[in-house]
Amino acid sequence: MADIAKPRRFGRINLEIRDDMPMWQQSLAFLAGVAAGLAVSVLILIASGVGPGALINEFVVFIFTSPKNISAVLVQAGPLIIVGLSAGIAFKARFWNIGIEGQVIFGAIGATLVAINNIGPEFLRLPMMALFAALGGMLWIILPALLKLRLQINEIITTLLMNYIAFNFLLHLLYGPWQDPVSSFPHSQQFESFERLAPLGWQSLNMSLLIAAILVVFCFWFMVKSRFGFQLNFVHSNARMAKALGVRVAVLTLAAALLSGALSGLAGFAISAGIESRMTQSFFIGYGFSGILIAFLARNNPLGIVAVAILVATLMIAGQSLQVFYQIPFAMVQLIQAIIVICVAASEFFIRHRMRWVD
């Protein structure tokens, strides 16, 4: 035991709980977390045989100088933004929606139902598909939401299990009634041209990005500007207290859950009508967990979700070319994502604590 009575030559670092941190410093800590995660990822990639030059080439030069790749990133980002918003809104109400994937599937089923059965006139076909997609997503979340609100049944379990039901129902449709009659492959027949999201006229961008942008504006309004979002903050903070203060917690939670389902459904619509032009058996894979990850990293902030979704999309696209040209397994891309998440989560420590030099 050293004696603290003696004057010491060296000071020490005190760890203190921080009261508050200005927004710009928090953003800086976030960016530092991302940078640290990328730095570690670079080391891993170099260790697995991708040269530093090649990395710069793939991640910086290739992605950001080629319009084709920029558009590929943005196309990928569209649905990611939408599922990120879906997770963000549900999490804001402390409704842990793990069933985004199932809701995406039911969104796509809703859209495909309209397309296959030619419901509505041609000029209304796309809006009808979007509407049915939103309803499909809501249909797939309403049961867990009611079970939670009425019977306090844990929504993490129910929404998760609903994913499996949705997936098997999808397989039933694709191997059964909705199988493509032309090719006999297990996917639906291709959508007609008026059932696909129109291109925006630059590279491969299409309307799905515009839909994502509109939904971002809507969610920003809902969560930040409107009275609902204000009350949702209290539900997020402490639902029992919110109820005591006069917030209608059950109504708000149900609304947030339904909105989350609708957004996931619209993501299913954006993917099937914007990217795949049909319903396939694997288009949805990974979107559920990407949505959760994006909302977590962005702390449920709609604008943050846009930034993180673009980052994740960049990783995915760069990962694809690493896979093709350097034989790096796709698992490596997931590893990089995980490392970045851990680093950003760790950066929270510096937001909550202060290191202070004391002499």
């Binding site: 603290i4 005190n14 203190e16 409107s226 903050n233 207290m241 203060l245």
Partner: protein, 520 residues
């Protein structure tokens, strides 16, 4: 570093200290700052063997910070610590434990589903589980006998009352071998009677040779139950005095820097009946019946005080009145609205019912949201501050600033500051600012002075009185009999979930006390 605490018997240990002239614990020139805020500024404090030493001061005066330095939770920026005359380095709670220093915090550190024995064993691990369970049980009963504690060792701690949980905490530090015992606001959560029992136990501890630092707000207990009193203000020691040389007003002056005495003033109006509660029966979520044919009524312009020992259904009554718990029988009538028994919390708020709950962090303030958000939620819900589509954040901030000023909420550096950063008294003032901003016609206040210092408590009482004078019907539910006697115009005594007796004010303290403990 780890150390196995000495497990000698308490008396032998406490008696083993050396020269009685050498303080058992001495904190010298302790300075501690948090960022720019200086919590402790060159503070000296010592504890002699066998004494009970009270540490008095307002919220934020630095009492708890000082004790946290001694207990190894905070590292002092400067200063020295001596234990039994020898310089000591305390780098963490385990160092403090090795030096036989033990602290019981205001918020208990207990694992609720575990029994008392398991909790104490968890804090003092040794050997195999079954074996040490027996050993610990034996140690506990020795220590419990010594101080006269009676605790059910086999019930989950969560099922024990607050007072029993506190006893478990104290036994925990005793079993750890502590002879320098720090108690942070131990009586704040206890009733008169429980507090009295605790103070007697503390005296037994001291006479067995331990020394006790008693952090408190309460003047009378430091005057009657301690050997020395140290008063702190703004991070500095004001003075250390002997209790027989000072009076309560002297201490108050030292604590707040000015004299402050609260006086009763009775209501002058006799309004018409505003709230009538008739034959309420209710059970908690776990099925335990807690309210049993409870009835009372309150007129506008009066404070109806509900006295009683904690745990007799007070919390459930507040929940029933707020619309959070639906009663299984009986009804609640509100003047102008008729029967409101079946209405929700948000509807009752619209009818003009305001609430100051006992559990601020759990029921009144969202700690991670801003001061402005916490103040404005009431207004937003009643349709103020912009339309449903667009919140008017500017006017929210403006009204927050003027309320902060009007209600003298200290420590608000900006209206965007998180409300968790406010101290207890200021957080309570913020709650009151919000609850009273809607000009309520019924105010339900549950232990509004809990954890507040003299000045904050007087301010809170002033606001309750002015609400009453403006015609509100105030229901004051408190386990602090002094508070009830000071404020209430009529007093009902709650016991086993019902009102067993009613008194007009000024009431006889002994008669109320008798009704509080009567009926079994």
């Amino acid at each position: 570093m780890t150390s196995t605490p000495d497990r000698n018997s308490l008396t032998a240990e406490c008696g083993s200290a050396t020269d009685p002239a050498v303080p058992a614990l001495a904190l010298r020139s302790i300075t501690k700052s948090f960022g720019d805020f200086i919590a402790l500024d060159d503070v000296d404090f010592d504890l002699r063997q066998g004494e009970v030493h009270s540490l008095l001061g307002e919220n934020g005066a630095g009492k708890s910070s000082l004790m946290n330095v001694a207990a190894g939770l905070y590292a002092a920026d400067r200063g020295t610590i001596e234990v039994a005359g020898r310089p000591a380095a305390i780098r963490g709670p385990s160092d403090a434990q090795a030096l036989h220093i033990g602290m019981v915090h205001q918020h208990y550190k207990l694992v609720m589903p575990f029994t008392a024995v398991e909790n104490i064993l968890l804090a003092n691990p040794s050997g195999g589980f079954e074996q040490s369970l027996q050993h610990t049980r034996q140690l506990i009963s020795e220590k419990a006998d010594l101080v006269g504690f009676d605790v059910d060792l086999d019930k989950p701690v969560g099922a024990l009352s607050i007072a029993e949980q506190q006893r478990v905490e104290i036994l925990k530090v005793l079993v750890a071998g502590a002879n320098i015992i720090i108690l942070d606001e131990p009586t704040a959560v206890l009733t008169d009677e429980e507090g009295q029992r605790l103070l007697e136990a503390i005296r037994k501890l001291a006479s067995s040779g331990c020394c006790v630092a008693l952090v408190t707000h309460k003047l009378h207990e430091s005057l009657t139950h301690s050997d020395r009193i140290t008063v702190m203000r703004n991070g500095k020691v004001v003075e250390t005095v002997l209790p027989d040389r000072v009076t309560a007003p002297d201490l108050t002056t030292m604590i707040v820097g000015e004299t402050l005495v609260e006086n009763r003033h009775q209501t002058t109006v006799s309004g018409k009946q505003r709230l009538a509660v008739r034959g309420i029966n209710a059970a908690r979520a776990d099925g335990l019946a807690t309210l049993n044919d409870l009835s009372f009524d309150v007129r506008s312009g009066e404070i109806y005080g509900i006295a009683g020992v904690g745990g007799n259904g007070q919390s459930e009554l507040v929940e029933v009145l707020m619309g959070l718990l639906s009663p299984s029988g009986g009804d609640i009538q509100l003047d102008g609205q008729g029967d409101i028994t079946g209405t929700r919390a948000d509807e009752r708020r619209r009818f003009g019912v305001a609430c100051i709950p006992a559990d601020r962090q759990g029921f009144a303030l969202a700690g991670d949201l801003s001061v402005s958000d916490n103040f404005s939620i009431g207004g937003v819900l009643s349709g103020k501050f912009g339309s449903w589509a667009r919140l008017d954040r500017k006017s929210m901030a403006r009204e927050t600033r003027s309320a902060v000023e009007k209600y003298d909420v200290q420590g608000v550096r900006s209206d965007a500051q998180r409300s968790a950063l406010l101290s207890g008294g200021n957080a309570q003032k913020l709650v009151i600012a919000r609850e009273f901003s809607g000009s309520p016609t019924v105010v339900i206040a549950h232990s509004p002075n809990r954890g507040l210092d003299v000045r904050a408590s007087a301010a809170v009482h002033g606001h309750l009185l002015s609400a009453r004078d403006q015609g509100a019907a105030v229901v004051l539910i408190s386990e602090d009999l002094d508070e009830i006697l000071l404020l209430a115009d009529r007093i009902g005594v709650m016991n086993s979930g019902t009102i067993v007796a009613e008194f007009g004010a000024p009431a006889d303290r002994h008669a109320i006390g008798k009704a509080m403990v009567g009926h079994g």
